[in-house]
């Protein structure tokens, strides 16, 4: 069986690598270096993306950057509307997030509800001096007043279309498709 619409590749592995490199540079430029930076990847695919960006920052700056994982399952506003979801681990770097510049990293920015949940989760974990958002794909259709600071690709899409991000760490290959 095939889908009615065949998936179209929007980003290939080279595109993804270039986008992440640019995001890493943007983050450094905006922050004037890697000081006080904490990258928090949102489960599931934001986590490997955060690690990839951190690698690039390390390569450019020579110094490491803190990376963590944030799970927002418990903070979602649609918990009650779905069967119980399995929560993932939240890992905050040992230095904490107080007075740090936290960059949330996610694969796709869509309604903005995940980011809303992430902001609530952050508030329970500490008080960063600033929170920024980096996403690989911004597909529009926001339902909340939220925007990304760093975007890999703006992808105009119809609401009914499906944007899938696959990453080697989770899916054995790098690609972004729309169908």
């Amino acid at each position: 069986m095939t889908d009615a619409a065949d998936p179209r590749i929007v980003l290939d592995p080279g595109d993804i690598a270039r986008a992440l490199t640019r995001i890493a540079h943007e983050i450094l430029e905006r922050n004037k270096g890697a000081d006080d930076l904490v990258l928090l990847g949102l489960h599931t695919r934001g986590v490997p993306l955060a690690h990839r960006i951190a690698e690039r920052i390390r390569a450019v700056e020579g110094s490491g950057v803190d990376v963590g994982e944030l799970d927002v399952t418990m903070y979602r506003d649609d918990l009650r509307k779905q069967p119980t979801r399995r929560a993932h681990k939240t890992v905050i770097p040992p230095g904490g997030i107080d007075d740090k510049i936290v960059v949330l990293v996610d694969d796709v920015l869509f309604s903005g509800r995940t980011i809303r949940a992430a902001l609530d989760a952050l508030a329970d974990l500490g008080r960063p001096s600033a929170v920024r958002l980096a996403v690989l794909v911004d597909r529009g259709h926001r339902e909340l007043p939220i925007r990304a600071d760093h975007v890999g690709k703006n992808l105009p899409s119809a609401r009914a279309e499906r944007v899938s991000v696959r990453l080697a760490e989770c899916d054995d290959l790098d690609e972004v498709t729309i169908s």
């Binding site: 799970d71 399952t73 418990m74 903070y75 918990l79 009650r80 509307k81 779905q82 069967p83 119980t84 979801r85 399995r86 929560a87 993932h88 681990k89 939240t90 609530d120 329970d124 974990l125 500490g126």
Partner: protein, 308 residues
Amino acid sequence: MKHLLSIDDVSADQVQEIFATAADMHDVQRREVKKLPALRGRTVINMFFEDSTRTRSSFEIAGKWLSADVINISAKGSSASKGESLRDTVLTVCAMGVDGLVIRHPASGAAQQVSEWVDAVVINAGDGMHEHPTQALLDAYTLQRRMGSLDGKHVAIIGDLTHSRVFRSNVLCLTKLGARVTVVAPPTLMPSGIGPWSKEAGFATSYDLDDVLPDADAVMMLRVQKERMSGGYFPSAREYTVGYGLTRDRLRLLRPDAPICHPGPMNRGLEIAADAADAAQSVVLEQVSSGLAVRMAVLYHLLAGEES
């Protein structure tokens, strides 16, 4: 699963899912803000018709950390002491719009019965001599954290089996997770009918603790439940300790890395000597903190998702 009345309600996979969530919840205990919003707007009632410290407070904290509104009702000081029937008390409480009911009752089967009367999710926090599923889950979770997978591990459960709901739930849970279980008790505290059950469920029975201890990967000591004992089950406390207590001498028979569990409250000097209760291999306090995490996980799994 809609309710948690017995360990039979959950599959081995679901148990592991609860444990995985519990591991996440464990991290919350170390946070400055110990609060998750998952059960915001949900109301959980703890109905305790029997005394309890740790189970009740841990369900209460678990609910509160998940942002549920938690109300405690105990038999003393409620209308139950004025002669109201269990059914009327439960229906009255549920008429207030309750989502979850955590119930402990001296009658075996009470939780099951209550679940047939109400729409709310019912969690059995101990029903007479029948089951205490969250205790079994937290015991297995504690052991699994210490020893890795329980598959093939030998766990000895020792003590007052006849009156123990903890033992019944634990046998079901541990065998479900692949552990080899041996239960040890004096003949007078071995439940009647255990022979056929042990054959069917696949666990061993023994009257000789000294024989079982050297081979155990973990031991669970059970409380001697004086409040449920009407007759003479053993001649004297001293005699029980000599035959079935985890004494200083017996501790030497046990492998030094084998965890020692006790569901509490402990009768120090009766079923467990202070040397064993306070030994490095004792996980009694770990059981308490695990209990909180496991109960948070259970509440989350039963109450957070869509209403069925």
